[in-house]
Amino acid sequence: MVDAARQSKIDLRAYTEVERVEGFVGNFKVTLREKAKYVIADRCNGCGDCSSVCPIEVPNYFELNIAPRKAIYVPMSQSVPLIYSIDMDACIKCFKCVEACGPLEAIDFSQEDKLVTEDIGAIVVATGFSHFDPSVMEEYGYGKFPNVITSMEMERLNNSAGPTAGNLIRPSDNKNPQKLAFINCVGSRDKRFNEGCSNFCCMYSIKNAVLLKQMNPKVDITIYYMDIRTPSKGYEEFYDRARKMGIHFTQGRPSLITEDPETYNLYVHSEDIALGEVIEHEYDMIMLNTAAIPQPDQNEMSSVLNVAQSPGGWYMEYHPKLRPMDSPTDGIFFAGACQGPKDIPASVAQGSAAASRAGRILHSKEWEIEPTVAVVWPDRCVSADGKSCGLCSKACPYGAVDYAKGKAAEIITAKCHGCGACVAECPHDAITQLHFTDAQILAQMRALLAEEPHKKILAFRCHWCSYGGADLAGTSHFEYTANERGMRVMCSARMDSDFIYEAYRLGAGAVLYSGCHPQDCHYITGQLIGAKRAKRLSTIFERMQMTPGRFRIAWISAAEGDKYARVLNEMQAVLDNMPEEQLLEEIERLKPEVTKRLRRFPNVPGVQEAMDFSDTMVTAITTKESAA
């Protein structure tokens, strides 16, 4: 950190929050709130005279509130930059600090928060993680029993710069504990609180146990665990070392901690899985290894940065395996635990990767993006005529649509990721997606449904998930109906209602509307838009009294080849269970209604031509085949 502060090309802004992020890759405009420190940074030399005269003491957040700090303070003694600031919620304005500061005149009570806007090329998010509060787990008695503490609190107690100068004492009577227990997975791997594994706690508890054992080999330490996870290089060896040092490992998740009301000693009730017996052991002090959870303001930050969150609340990466340091938004990268709990080596690796990714942007004059971007036909956009619409702007997961009443909507190409949500949402068909134009998709559909369309199942698949699912079904040799005809689009949000109506107008037997699971969507909220539309369509078809199952919605991940095959086979079964005449009759009955809904479709540029062209092609193919 000191090195970072000394490096001339690094501009360190401490006590500053990101308020707003606008713009796009290479051209971000970031608004920062520089919070008032009430100390002039250039004048403060960090001597600490002000702090020593301050009469106010409040809990020290950095010491996990086990120690006090003054109202004028630095968060920790190694703070970089070493500049004091005043906590105005605590300050009583006695101005003793002003006196103590003397000729430096660094203290300025008139300071206010300052908003500054900066031009930024790339953003690396490294906001870290927070800790689960174990007091909600009544069974462990944290907050109720003084000698039940968290491992983080123990680290402060055991730290030579901490409140007890490294003397590990137990809170009830300030004695040095002789018999200690660590409990792993407190609030993690627990469906009631946090489903995921916190990744580093196994190693963290072993490390703490080893440290304590090194300081005092006489202490008796037990680690209660469910599974010990030491997957990286050298970790298992470290675990072995801990065992050799005489640290006890007991498999079994404690269900209860009770306290002796006289001695304040604690009893852990757990099953010893190896013995298959319930055990109850007495300890002087118990440390809880609490779950790593997202920062409390992670939700707000995710909307400021416009990046998605995974189910646990962590920031979602562009691709879990191939691009773990990239956010779905170009030019924003993740480093460390903000993207998911991880240990130091993994954080460092990800941070370095993110930095080099960011460096690549700063050093390039041009930036390559996917060619499948959306484009607006300004003459078709109603907003140019002064009508208010803005559906495209609402649909866009990336805020890439520059929409204002009175002018045609515009797509900021650098921000567009090519999901096609705006294209499908536009009620006036004023937007198109390159390489996935309505005309191109239509031509494909007509070719696929050229012959005996009533026997076909037209499956719309999204590029990232259900297409992969279908692929996996194929490579895994999961058998499914040969009547399936696959149509690839980038996202389920691109699956325009017009396509579905057109498929039924062409006489398709069944249509599958498939995409990612909501949390897997490659385009942040694309799936949600697609799902909403699919639901609306299914209500419409229900009202048209279409046989249930002829329109099917399924969310299939790339790993669910079996599900893809199953869904298709179920759809085939629906068609098989209908007599052919009945199916044909239903198709004919629905044709006028779907055609009515398609009345605007031929006006889309290129669609009429595509229809005519594909009609001639289809006729050519069918006549050729029948002639043969």
């Binding site: 269900s255 009770t258 010893d272 017996e277 319930v278």
Partner: protein
Amino acid sequence: MSHENTIETFADQVKAIPGGEHLEMCYSCGTCVSKCMIQQKLEPEYNPRRLLRMVMMDMRKEAFESPTTWYCSQCDLCYPACPQEIHISAVIAAVKQLAVEAGYSTPLSTVSVDESLCAGCGICVMACPYEAPHLIQKEVDGVMDLFSEVDENRCMSCGICVAACPLGAISRKGVSNKEIIKQIKVKKQKSIPSLVIFICDWCLREDDDLSILESYPANVRVIHIPCSGRIDPQMALLALRAGIDGVLVCGCRPGECHYQHGTDITTCKMSLLDTMIDQIKLRDHRVKFVQIGTQERGRIRQEIDSMLETLNARKEPH
């Protein structure tokens, strides 16, 4: 490639019964085993985690014969503690249902009905947390009438019905009215007040607490009952009539009762008893009901000491 499996596994059967669905989520952490007190107090072989494992490994016979299947009293302490949110007691109930269907029966000693006393009033049916007793029409000694009959595979031997029966027609070996009343005897010493403690088998988790009970002199009599719901308010009155200074009834904290709602039944009974004691102008604070939680180690000592103190204070002016 076909993925159909025509043979139904034991796990499939259990999962088909409502409550048994999340069975395979178990990762064997052992929370349920140590949360439950049956292994420590009743049956060392009791282990819900292993039963779940047996179901998953298709060990049908072993599961049916396992004490876990039969001893679980559905108190549901383990369900809210389970990190995988498995409704363990429901899984056990599902196994038990299959075991009963397969012809197995409970090894527990259950309650029995004396038909010569039973009037078919149905109070036991309402009192039972397990729906074990039910009224049936049958002929006894040439008379056709309604009688209570207990489904022994449902009965968990809590004795709540024994206390509820107004005619004393239901009894269980070891905790029949006669056997309990016989124990209400205290060796009196002038200097210290005498006290009878009715204590439920489950509210004291630790051995330490049990040994506290033994640390008092003979003037404090401890009577173990399966559930505080087994207490008949008459027993408290009998004790007072026998010249004993005080009666302390201990049960589990609400929500932690080993027999689902036995402790709630006792709360109702004891508040009625309080009203009655008030009406007959007996001195106050002679009968007390305390509910002890699983985390309240050492509370039993505080309660007994404070009770003795109150009784002592009452005695002194004379």
